[in-house]
């Protein structure tokens, strides 16, 4: 399959779901609509692209932009040695996005991490709890509006 083809295929398959496509430093990038994520991910995994591995899943907080958050997914095809990056934006008003745990098992902890540090809610996640921070921790520390000096010690500290 040609290098260009996979983005074209996604475009043809989901004409309403794909907002724009690009090639960034040799990697395929597609910016998609939030609602189409699960279908596009399933198509990438089971379709001709054979992107059978979820490399990483993370979030970026563009504090001054609207919509504010951007989810970034990296997929890798083991058989074709190719990567693809999927991005989608989330506004502050609606922080829900569908979970990828039904397609990839490793999305479980990755999504828990993003939930812990950014406060994104993954719908369909089997066990959405904090991963790094402890119970009783307030707020989401990697958000740009989390106060830099705010400390929430777990036990009482000496001054």
């Amino acid at each position: 399959m040609e290098e260009k083809a996979i983005l074209e295929l996604v475009r043809i398959e989901f004409p309403a779901g794909v907002r724009e496509t690009a090639n960034s430093l040799g990697d395929e990038v597609a910016v998609i609509e939030k609602g189409a994520l699960l279908q596009i991910a399933a198509f990438l995994r089971d379709g001709p692209g054979k992107f059978d591995m979820l490399l990483d899943l993370t979030c970026v907080d563009y504090a001054r932009e609207d919509p504010r958050f951007e989810m970034v997914y990296h997929f890798f095809s083991l058989s074709r040695n190719q990567r693809i990056r999927i991005k989608t934006r989330l506004g502050e008003g609606d922080l829900r996005i569908s979970s990828l745990t039904s397609l990839w098992k490793n999305a479980d902890w990755l999504e828990r991490e993003v939930y812990d540090l950014f406060g994104i809610h993954f719908e369909g996640h089997p066990d959405l709890r904090r991963l790094f921070m402890y119970d009783g921790f307030e707020g989401h520390p990697l958000r740009k509006d989390y106060p830099l000096r705010r400390r929430q010690p777990l036990i009482r500290l000496k001054e």
């Binding site: 520390p141 929430q152 036990i155 000496k158």
Partner: protein, 167 residues
């Protein structure tokens, strides 16, 4: 009664001061250490503890992985807020007498991690005897810190079981 016998100090006082320094001497050369290794400083701890730099020359070679059998706690690396209760428990489980070394900048002050997750110096959780700076400290620095701790142990007021409590 001869002249030398007259000059001798009273028996009790003589024995007390000498016993104090004997205990200090015994304790400073028989430090069993518990390595609480959490981060990259552990590499330097390993090189300091193993044959190249050989911490055993100073009588602190015995690593015990039970806090109940050790009397020197080496806090090696970054301590997060989530880990703080664990460190406190380990310290509480150690039997007296016990000493604590803060190994590396993170344990001393939090280091570069001035953020929501990291305790800004382990002296906010447990008492610390010796601070060893460095990111990570060279093994020579570690040995220097160990010698300073031994000096401290030698000169401090020793506590033992049948000693009368002052208060």
């Amino acid at each position: 009664m001869t002249e030398t016998q007259k000059k001798r100090p009273p028996a009790g006082q003589f024995i007390t001061t000498q016993f104090n320094s004997l205990l200090g001497w015994a304790r400073k050369f028989s430090l069993f250490h518990y390595p609480f290794v959490t981060a990259c400083c552990g590499m330097e701890y390993m090189s300091a503890a193993c044959a190249h730099f050989d911490i055993d020359r100073f009588g602190a070679g015995w690593t015990r992985f039970s806090p109940r059998q050790s009397d020197m706690l080496l806090v090696v690396g970054t301590i997060t807020q989530k880990e703080a209760p664990v460190l406190r428990t380990v310290y509480d489980q150690m039997t007296e007498p016990k000493w604590v070394i803060a190994f590396g900048t993170c344990a001393v002050s939090g280091g570069i991690y001035d953020n929501y997750a990291v305790v800004q110096g382990i002296d906010q959780i447990i008492p610390v005897d010796i601070y060893i700076p460095g990111c990570p400290p060279r093994p020579e620095t570690v040995l220097d810190g160990l010698l300073k701790l031994q000096e401290k142990i030698q000169h401090q007021d020793q506590d033992w079981r049948w000693k009368k409590k002052r208060s």
